[in-house]
Point group: C2
Chain length 430, copies 2
């Protein structure tokens, strides 16, 4: 069982210090939220958030690869191209997806209202939505409230913004760190996210907004973003099951005491790793808070011929229904794991495969090990454990994070659309 | 909503007449089964089957594409190359997979015992196993009983053979037809199968044995086999999740009254369609009897740019957890369907997509239709319905058969391995 890893951040010697505030932890960012009655008609839950950098930014974003893209994604993709977006308006309760030209008009109206309230250009505002697909936005209840929302922006508003983007999440996802660079200099990175939908972002969408006061160039930010997303959010969206709305945005305003980060410098690597750290913590929160999840499991494939082989094997295991069911039942069913490795498309030799539950070997060279099943069961009964699949065929590694599949998940996901339509019809909202 | 189809059998004018007997319906085939205590230690359930053609055959088989292959698959792959295998010995209760050199030895021992009892060469016997992975076969309880099993072969033994290959199946799967060719001439095709494991064959494996008394050449049989498997079993194994043991075998002995089938003749097409008919009926029985399934749903994608696009879209929808959960809850959640189409990799235009539940349109041009949700719910509440996804981008079609995902499925699949190991340990069987 090799401990080889290909993530350079594991060797980094800088201490990241967790701090409060999420997206408002870095200097010069404010946030706020209100309830417009999008999520529930009684308007008791926050459902509209605004995040603003007080000064110009360098901004980058990655969007869903789904070919069915929400109206807000289409509008934000246009706006982000300008590279200087410095505000995000985001709602929960309605995804503004499969809403046609009306949806585009609504997404633009949200940007326009925010731009007017904040004295910005429209292209400086990004818009995100999450919630049910296929229903028009209750835009008449949103745009008239945006000026009020802008008045609520405050330097400690990160918590409220995190709450306002929740859908089936049971808790807000918020994380921030301070990164000391020596000589009293430092920068901060903070973020919020929403997820749920078990592990592949549900139609309910994966959203994450990251802010930093580090001073980075557009190019450096793009590089860091690509690296950090690949190491974090892409390890939990495990089967290409990206939703219509998935969006990750990073805004940097350069207000920190630390000097500008130079390409190829040690600080550039520290910045990439800090971004990865914040995204990884948020990604883990998303998995742990997956719909009706009772187990958090790391699937780690090592000693594969190539990284592509490691990835295929890890993802096939992580998304196998039968494997996830056995995790739920605390069943150390390594047969289902090797079976998934077998159909994953990874180049493997059955007789070389070892499978471990935490440190305990369950399968040795493709055959059942001598470890007593009761010992293996002890591991799988834990709420968190690691399955290591050693292919003994090379030295490539890949890991992904998955969950069990519970009866409650099925129940929870069996009547969303009807329930939503009926609820809204009863309230006269559609 | 186009009715275009690319299956030539839909235009065939020959009437297939269902008959009893399964694999023993065609002339010259006998079958039998006994209980050896592989499936349950009390040996109350049939778990060892034998099928024999009394005369030489032309035989073909397709096996799992999983890179982890059971010992029986490896041995049968060698034997089937000879092309004249005329007996099948098959057990349930143990898959003989991940069992190393001992497994190969056990699979060969089963062939040898059958060959000796039947006066055949070893290569004339194929061996199949289905059941739990990773445990050695209780071979000492099998081989000594094979002579007794051979004595039980009878021309009406198809039903017993079908029972003996069941694992989590709730009913045996058996089907046969007589194919009249006019002038009193005819041939028969019969088969048995086992499936369960929801829709992708579980580790419990998909097995199907088909017999025919039609007189066909090796080449013609191969062509017909490829066509029929593609139109049937490959439409239910929807995500490449083939098990370690999946096997389909066709044996033809030419004892029918009908003359030899010539390449390119109308009879060749009739033969292909007859084979497809038997496989399709067995495939549908497998889906309907999937573990704890309450719905049988056809996913039909039409007017795709290419067949590959249609296939990708249909398979993504058919295997989506969220779609399957919504079927279970009788929720006409077309948003989840279009979402799955969007990430399927198929080339689509969102604004062209129409989605129907049976004949009722739920989504028109990517937007919600005017059909009342209560009308759509009526369709989805049925135990059988069709979801049609019209991509309006070409004229290619593909359909697959899927099921809902129930809480009971999760429960049923959550502790197989532990339970099996503990049960066997308690009985002193491992």
């Amino acid at each position: 069982m090799s401990a080889a890893t290909h993530n350079p951040c594991s060797k980094l010697r800088v201490q990241f210090k967790p701090v409060d505030g999420g997206v408002t932890a870095p200097l010069g960012f404010r946030a706020g939220a209100i309830s417009c009655g999008i999520k529930n008609p009684e308007a008791t839950r926050l459902d509209l958030a605004l995040i603003l950098s007080d000064s110009p930014t360098v901004t980058d974003a990655v969007f869903t690869t789904n070919k069915v893209r929400a109206a807000c994604v289409r509008v934000s993709q246009q706006h982000v191209r300008s590279g200087d977006a410095r505000a995000i308006i985001a709602n929960s309760g309605n995804a503004n997806a499969c809403t046609g030209p009306q949806g585009i008009q609504d997404a633009k109206a949200m940007c326009k209202a925010a731009a007017e309230a904040l004295g910005l250009k429209m292209r400086e505002v990004l818009v995100c939505s999450t919630g049910i697909i296929g229903m028009n936005m209750p835009i008449q209840r949103i745009t008239p409230r945006v000026a009020e929302l802008a008045g609520k922006l405050q330097p400690k508003g990160g918590d409220e913004a995190a709450q306002a983007i929740m859908t089936s999440d049971t808790k807000p996802k918020i994380y921030a760190i301070e990164v000391p660079l020596g000589k009293g200099l430092s920068f901060r990175v903070g973020g919020i996210a929403k997820g749920a939908g078990m592990i592949c972002p549900n139609m309910a969408t994966m959203l994450s907004f990251i802010t930093t006061d580090a001073k980075v160039s557009k190019d450096e930010l793009k590089r860091a973003m690509r690296f950090a997303v690949d190491q974090s959010f892409n390890r939990i969206t495990i089967d290409g099951d990206t939703s219509t709305n998935d969006t990750v945005i990073v805004m940097s305003n350069g207000q920190a005491s630390a000097p500008a980060i130079k390409k190829g410098s040690p600080e550039a690597e520290i910045f990439r790793c800090a971004l990865q750290k914040v995204m990884m913590e948020l990604a883990k929160m998303i998995v742990s808070d997956g719909e009706r999840v009772t187990k958090f499991v790391e699937i780690r494939v090592c000693n594969a011929r190539t990284h592509s082989d490691a990835k295929k094997a890890a993802e096939a295991v992580a998304k196998s229904l039968l494997v996830k069911c056995s995790f739920h039942g605390s069943d150390p069913n390594w047969g289902r794991i090797i079976h998934a490795v077998g159909y994953s498309g990874a180049r493997i030799k059955e007789e070389l495969i070892d499978i471990y539950f935490n440190g305990l070997i369950a399968c040795k060279g493709g055959l059942t090990s001598k470890t007593p099943v009761s010992d293996l069961e002890k591991v799988v009964r834990e709420p968190r454990f690691t399955v290591t699949i050693d292919l003994n065929s090379g030295n490539a590694v890949h890991n992904v994070y998955t969950t069990d599949l519970s009866e409650a998940y099925v129940d929870f996901n069996s009547s969303e659309y009807s329930a939503a339509v009926h609820a809204k019809r009863q309230k006269g909202l559609v």
